[in-house]
């Protein structure tokens, strides 16, 4: 995969340098954008927003929706949106606030596009800032759903989350099998992918491409960043024969560094992409879902199949599997282990970044989205069998599916806990996972 473009060391350096410069200048565009927003100061600070439904490029204000602003559980104020859909609440001081939308007050035919986002839990307000928050509303089916309908919608959501987890876990699983290390910074690669795509498509400081056009450059950039990390950090550490424990600790330090760096650049509030944000649901049988979900699932399955083929039938795939099986033996039979690592990093990071873009499309882009997903990725890996890449894919799908379906019976706030509970139960009763081998665990 990297053979042509990256084989010549000089070209390799050039490509990496170009990407580094692009990323760097891009993030400054972002920062300036954020700073410019701070200029919009008035006396006192407030949280405000506009309630509107965007349907076929047409904006329709929604009146009378109740909003509740609170700080650490203490209610600061509640208002209803006016005839133009606008609302605002004065807040006493700079700080973190929660904004909740009373779903019951939404008029018939209007719904949150993401029913889970009824509350924004960390709205940061600066001194004197007029902070705009956004709830995305869409023309919804307000008829109450039957059990079958809600379950089948959850199935689609579950497959979507499963697809995202599976895509993101391939890189982690491959790296684990060749290096024996859990890369705790892997979640940040998910976030990185989502943010690179945000930079290219939505950020006012970026080139403002359509998101679909931004996906491939995102994967390319992420792949190069992955390669850069292998070059700059992991390869030197391997040369020094740092043990697995040391590598794991480095990865957790690195994850902290990367996560908070992304937070500094991107800011705390979640932001949606400008494209694929609101879509009319398509309906078939008992399912009603925006088409983007089906696209995500389909594309992910195709890519995973492709990745599997690559691993099974190509030379580099065979080499990766050989290194995973026995590194010394592979090395002594002439396989360039460093090259295998590099390719694995590039491909793994690119796929992970795509997982991040999908997660961003499904929900929104947020600084700790990847870290939250990481625990579910781990759960998927353990469920499928640690160290088996196909297992990780299957396990990822299964975990996503289980977690989403469980929300039918269990409160949404337990979502991640359910995934982690599955992980613990699996370790107790079938530690080798669904597809693993007993010999690998002890």
């Amino acid at each position: 995969m990297s053979g042509g473009l990256l084989s010549d060391p000089k070209r390799r350096v050039l490509v990496v340098a170009a990407l580094a410069i692009m990323t760097f200048t891009g993030s400054f565009g972002w920062l300036w954008d954020g700073a410019a927003l701070g200029q919009d100061d008035v006396d006192g600070q407030q949280i405000r927003g506009v309630m509107e439904v965007i349907e076929d490029e047409e904006r329709r204000p929604v009146e009378g929706v109740e909003m509740i602003v609170s700080a650490d559980g203490v209610e600061i104020g509640r208002v209803r949106s006016d005839a133009s859909g606008e609302w605002s609440v004065q807040v006493p001081e700079a700080g973190t606030y929660q904004v909740r939308l009373e779903v019951d007050t939404l008029p018939a035919g209007v719904q949150l596009t993401d029913p889970e986002r009824v509350e924004l839990s960390a709205v940061q307000v600066r001194e004197g800032q007029r902070k705009t928050v956004r709830f995305s509303l869409g023309p919804g089916f307000t008829k109450s759903l039957s059990t079958l309908e809600s379950l089948s919608n959850l199935v689609v959501l579950g497959l979507r989350l499963g697809a995202i987890i599976a895509l993101s876990s391939v890189g982690l699983s491959l790296l684990y099998s060749i290096s024996g290390m859990f890369n705790f910074a892997h979640g940040e690669l998910v976030t990185l992918g989502a943010m690179l795509a945000y930079l290219l498509s939505t950020s006012p400081g970026g080139p403002q491409w359509h998101l679909a056009a931004a996906v491939f450059p995102t994967m390319l950039m992420a792949g190069c960043i992955g390669g850069l990390m292998e070059f700059g950090l992991w390869r030197p550490l391997r040369r020094r024969k740092t043990g697995v424990v040391g590598l794991t600790l480095v990865s957790i330090g690195f994850s902290l560094f990367l996560r908070y760096l992304l937070l500094l650049i991107f800011g705390q509030s979640p932001k949606p992409y400008k494209n694929f944000n609101i879509q009319d649901p398509i309906e078939f049988l008992t399912v009603s879902t925006p088409p983007k979900n089906l696209f995500i699932i389909g594309l992910a399955v195709l890519l995973l199949l492709g990745g599997g083929m690559l691993l099974r039938y190509t030379r580099i795939g065979t080499a990766i599997r050989a290194v995973a099986d026995n590194r010394e033996l592979a090395e002594s039979s002439g396989i360039d282990v460093h090259h295998v690592f590099l390719v694995t990093w590039i491909v793994g990071t690119a796929l992970t970044a795509l997982g991040g873009v999908f997660l961003g499309i499904g929900e929104s882009v947020e600084w700790d989205m990847g870290f939250k997903l990481l625990l579910l990725i781990f759960a998927g890996m353990v469920l499928g069998g640690i160290g088996t890449t196909f297992g990780a894919m299957v396990g990822g799908f299964a975990i996503g599916f289980l977690v989403e379906i469980s929300t039918y019976w269990v409160d949404v706030q337990f979502k991640t806990a359910i995934g982690l509970g599955v992980l613990v139960l699996m370790l107790l009763f079938r530690p080798q996972g669904l597809m693993g081998l007993r010999g690998r665990i002890g």
Partner: protein
């Protein structure tokens, strides 16, 4: 920028209760990670169950001492649970499971379902009045000044600080005698070569399990004192970052070293406060221009913590006081 003021403030921070509580808590982690080689990424969970165990008991009307006992027992139970789920598996499962346990616990106490006991996101407040009633130190302001920059503590602060530093010293002495005992030598042998220890007839599983439980209990004591000082426990304090702070302290002090965690905690919190002071005053004086907002100062510090941890692991894995030969972090 007033360097002297920042430095004196940081000196104050380096002996404060936070430093003491982290020193105590890190001794527990040092036992698990430094001595037994168990990579516990959910150390924060020990602190959580300790603090919450105490707070819930007091909140339901029990005496504080009973609360402390419940907290400690819960931490021991947690250590045992970690053990039975992972110790029969390969070592790296422990990292994933412990990290997950911590997050599961945080989600649970945060949920509405647990609200009758944990008060969800609001947390529990004012549960340690009894502790301050025991305070033998007369009311007043204790301390001194360095070039008119005060380092002062109230009698309350001094009381909880002395208890916590006292416990940290006791825990260190316990750690030292454990490590000099046959038990400690076996644990180290297990860390170095599990198979060799097993072939000598040692029950490797049992030793690891004991290290997990003892470490978890010491960690919980740190969490309990941190809770007593703030009189406030709430779920979102107990994020994985707390564990990483503790790891940074253990590694800085030298994994497995006896006085390492205490010394490193003092140094670590000095650096922490110092960076905080420097970043904040640079921000108020406008050195960063429009680049950062005030809320960013903690984030910048965390970014630096991440870089620091990576550099420490790469360039000095044995920390300040550790012996290279003894440190499991590898490297040649």
């Amino acid at each position: 920028m007033d360097w002297l003021e920042i430095t004196v403030d940081s000196l104050r921070g380096s002996v404060s209760l936070v430093a003491a509580a982290y020193a105590l808590s890190s001794i527990g982690l040092n036992l698990q990670f430094g001595s037994a080689g168990l990579l516990n990424f959910g150390h924060v969970a020990s602190m959580l169950v300790g603090a919450y165990g105490m707070a819930i008991v007091v909140d339901l009307g029990g005496p504080l001492l009973l609360g402390v006992l419940v907290g400690v027992a819960a931490a021991a139970l947690l250590g045992w649970l970690w053990g039975i789920t992972t110790l029969r598996l390969r070592a790296d499962y422990l990292t994933v499971v412990t990290l997950s346990f911590g997050e599961i616990l945080r989600f649970l106490i945060r949920s509405n379902w647990a609200n009758p006991f944990t008060k969800s996101v609001y947390g529990i407040q004012r549960f340690a009045d009894e502790f301050y009633d025991w305070n033998p130190i007369p009311d007043g302001d204790y301390g001194f000044e360095i070039a008119s920059n005060p380092i002062r503590f109230s009698e309350r602060q001094l009381w909880v600080m002395s208890v916590c530093w006292g416990l940290a010293i006791l825990a260190t002495l316990l750690f030292r005698s454990l490590m000099r005992s046959p038990w400690g030598r076996t644990v180290k042998a297990v860390r170095e070569d599990e198979d060799a220890a097993r072939s000598l007839g040692k029950n490797v599983y049992l030793y690891k399990q004991q290290a997990l439980i003892i470490g978890s209990v010491i960690g919980a004591l740190g969490g309990i004192l941190l809770g007593i000082e703030t009189q406030n426990v709430y779920p979102d304090f107990y994020i994985p970052l707390v564990t990483i702070n503790a790891f940074a302290i253990v590694i800085l002090g030298g994994a497995g070293s006896v006085w390492g965690p205490m010394a490193a905690s003092i140094i670590y919190w000095f650096l922490f406060e110092w960076l905080d002071g420097v970043i904040n005053s640079a921000m108020t004086e406008g050195y960063f221009g429009l680049l950062f907002e005030p809320a960013d100062s903690g984030r910048i510090r965390t970014v630096l913590l991440g870089i620091g941890l990576v550099c420490l692991m790469v360039f000095r894995p044995q920390g300040l006081f550790g012996r290279r030969r003894e440190v499991i972090l590898g490297g040649t």
